[in-house]
């Protein structure tokens, strides 16, 4: 088992930082804290973290400046921006500056952990272009746009295919409803109620037909995961 990923938490509010750190520790990370942009940048550049959570508004050097400086210095550490600004424009600005994901306050701790896990994994796996995804006995051909389980082709609607691709790319990784909505549908508002649940449920019924080993797992209060048994 690889070492727990080290995460740098750059957050000026000490209580929030402590809170985030304890969530991360519970989620299996090794968090370290920094309370202002300049120190944070210094640490991020020298300590080789697996990921950074970065508050958008910091004293001295704000989050956007930190991330720009980080990218200019050649660091590729995944950065999760955490901000009270939830507008699409703010998100675009944050991501364009070099952020890898964007989470708005207030957030559930599980959401934070899920997103960081996704970032760390994506980073460790590298970004090689894949043409075939495989989880257990489920194959997804990205060229032919085909899902096959145990040799049997599964009919999928375009959105279902996209959803399955996203879940399989992040196999073994808990995905929150909001993450799914953002990555698959690319909308950033609150989808409300159980919209994502029914989409995942529908896909799940097509993949995990009775008699087969279930690949889908529900993490109560967090979201969903697809993983080989």
């Amino acid at each position: 088992m690889p070492l727990a990923p080290r995460i740098l938490v750059i957050e000026d509010d000490i209580d929030t930082a402590a809170e985030i750190a304890s969530c991360l520790a519970l989620g299996g990370f090794r968090p370290e804290q920094s309370f202002d942009g300049r120190d944070g940048l210094q640490l991020a550049l020298t300590q080789g973290y697996d990921a950074v959570t970065l508050d958008r508004m910091l004293p001295g050097m704000d989050g956007l400046q930190v991330i720009k400086a980080l990218r200019e210095a050649g660091s590729e550490a995944p950065v999760l921006m955490v901000s009270a600004l939830s507008d699409v424009d703010d998100r675009v600005i944050g991501l364009r500056a070099g952020g890898d994901d964007y989470l708005t306050k207030p957030f559930a701790p599980t959401e934070l952990v899920a997103r960081l896990e996704a970032l760390v994994r994506r980073n460790r796996r590298g970004s090689a272009a894949e043409v075939m995804l495989r989880v257990g006995d489920l194959d997804l051909d990205l060229v032919k746009h085909e899902a096959v389980r145990q040799g049997r082709r599964i009919e999928l609607l375009p959105m279902e295919f996209k959803l399955l691709e996203f879940m399989m790319r992040n196999a073994g990784q808990v995905l929150s409803r909001r993450m799914i909505f953002e990555w698959v549908w690319e909308y950033y508002f609150d989808p409300g109620t159980n919209l994502i649940d029914v989409h995942v449920g529908k896909l799940r019924r097509k993949i995990d037909t009775p008699g087969l080993t279930p690949l889908f797992k529900t993490e109560r209060g967090v979201g969903y995961m697809i993983d080989a048994p």
Partner: protein, 449 residues
């Protein structure tokens, strides 16, 4: 009333400025008169003196003493000076017994103060006679001097009087505006102290102060309205957030007391807190929408396509709830809008419609028939919204009493209303007999900018 305050009043400054201009003009005028008349009269006296001196100087020496006597007899020795002195300055003839000290012969006339010989100011001229003796001719100029001093004092006193009058007038003229200004100040201080009902006092004059006070009052009406709205909103939010938080607290308390807490209890507490967080998110979203730059994400947007996408997104949810969701085909309609926001608005309407129509319900998303008046309609056959509640449902942060049992932030309609406001579209709720029809009226692109 302090002077420093008075000085800042425009009326005072203007009155002072006009007064100063007036005083300067008056002084210049009087000064001119003074100079002109003094110079003129002096010149005339000098001319006469020159003529007399020339005439006497040219008369034969033997007749001179007699001539001087005649001249004195003729002109009076109290108003005229005629005298002859030897080259050494010794008196020979005339009504002056010592030659005036400053007098130079054959030079310009001088003015000499009264002496024992001649008890008045005199203008004197001297001539050297061919014999070497000195002839002195002079004239009483006390009248001229008096006149000059009269004009000079008139100049000074009228100047001083004018300055006082102007200052007094400026003060009087400024008292009115200053008093009204004081009234405005008091009113604004009271407003700043929290009395939002207070208004600026106005007079019947309709002058610039009244215009200004009127503008401020209009602004205050708006501020008061907003404050009331904020208060209402704050109370609503407080109420909405307190309920789940109170429940969560009670549950936590129970868990704290319990010997062996039931893990599912924790889930319920988290659920309650999630509700609060969800509401917070919705509230933030609304205020963000309201603070947004209107046209940032605007682009030509195909209404029908958006409607189709929303229906596709919500189809599984509708199916799961036993609701038939359909997009009715309509005319191709392209409007100027932010497609993501419009999608969010229609999603919220559809989400609501599915929730409220319930098992066996029918929800339809369709476009208006008239392409010139683009509109999008989300219709359900649920219980609808009571007529008297329809307006308040669209208010900021409003949550219907009946809605409180339905999961979700309950702020969906408020978000829709905020998005519609941002677009300057119009949102209305209508009776669909049975059910509710939510209509977004979108103006055509040419009119929306």
């Amino acid at each position: 009333m302090r002077l420093s305050e008075l000085w800042r009043i425009t009326t005072f400054r203007l009155a002072g400025l006009y007064g100063l201009v007036f005083v300067v003009g008056m002084v210049a005028l009087l000064g001119m008169i003074y100079l002109q008349s003094a110079v003129y009269l002096t010149r005339r006296v000098d001319g006469i003196l020159n003529t007399e001196a020339d005439a006497l100087a040219q008369s034969p020496r033997v007749e001179l003493t007699q001539r001087i006597g005649e001249a004195l007899a003729l002109n009076g020795d109290q108003t005229n000076v005629f005298a002859v002195f030897s080259a050494r300055g010794r008196w020979i003839a005339g009504n002056l017994h010592t030659p005036p000290a400053r007098l130079k012969l054959d030079s310009r006339p001088i003015e000499a103060p009264p002496t024992s010989d001649f008890p008045a100011y005199a203008r004197l001229i001297g001539r050297r006679l061919p014999s070497g003796e000195a002839l002195v001719v002079g004239r009483d100029v006390s009248q001229l001097r008096e006149m000059r001093s009269i004009i000079a004092s008139a100049l000074v006193w009228s100047g001083v009087a004018a300055v006082f009058i102007i200052f007094g007038l400026a003060v009087i003229l400024s008292v009115g505006p200053l008093r009204r200004l004081r009234g405005l100040q008091i009113a604004s201080e009271e407003i700043a102290a929290g009395d939002l009902k207070r208004r600026m006092p106005t007079s019947q004059r309709h002058d610039e102060l009244d215009m200004f006070a009127g503008t401020v009052n209009t602004m205050m009406d708006e501020v008061e309205r907003l404050m009331l709205e904020v208060r209402g909103v704050t109370e609503t939010i407080a109420h909405d957030l307190r309920t789940p938080l109170t429940r969560a607290r009670a549950q936590l308390h129970r868990l704290e007391q319990a010997e062996r807490p039931d893990p599912s209890e924790f889930g319920r507490v988290i659920g309650e807190i999630d509700v609060v967080l969800e509401r917070f998110r919705a509230l933030l979203r609304i205020s963000e929408l309201e603070a947004r730059d209107r046209h940032a994400g605007f682009a030509p947007t195909d209404l029908g396509m958006i409607a189709g996408q929303v229906v596709e997104l919500y189809q599984p949810l509708a199916e799961a709830g036993g609701v038939r969701l359909a997009a009715a085909p309509g005319p191709a309609t392209v409007i100027d809008a932010d497609p993501k926001l419009l999608f969010e608005a229609i999603s919220n309407l559809v989400d609501n419609a599915i929730k409220f129509s319930g098992e066996g319900g029918v929800v339809q998303v369709r476009l208006g028939e008239d392409p010139a008046r683009p509109r999008i309609i989300v219709q359900d056959n649920g219980p609808g919204v009571a007529e008297d509640e329809r307006a308040s449902v669209l208010q900021r942060f409003y949550r219907s009493e009946g809605n409180r049992m339905i999961p979700g932030s309950g702020l969906g309609l408020s978000i829709v209303a905020a998005i519609v406001r941002l677009h300057r579209f119009e949102l209305s709720l209508q009776d669909a007999n049975p059910g509710l029809m939510a209509v977004i009226d979108c103006r055509p692109p040419s009119l929306s900018r």
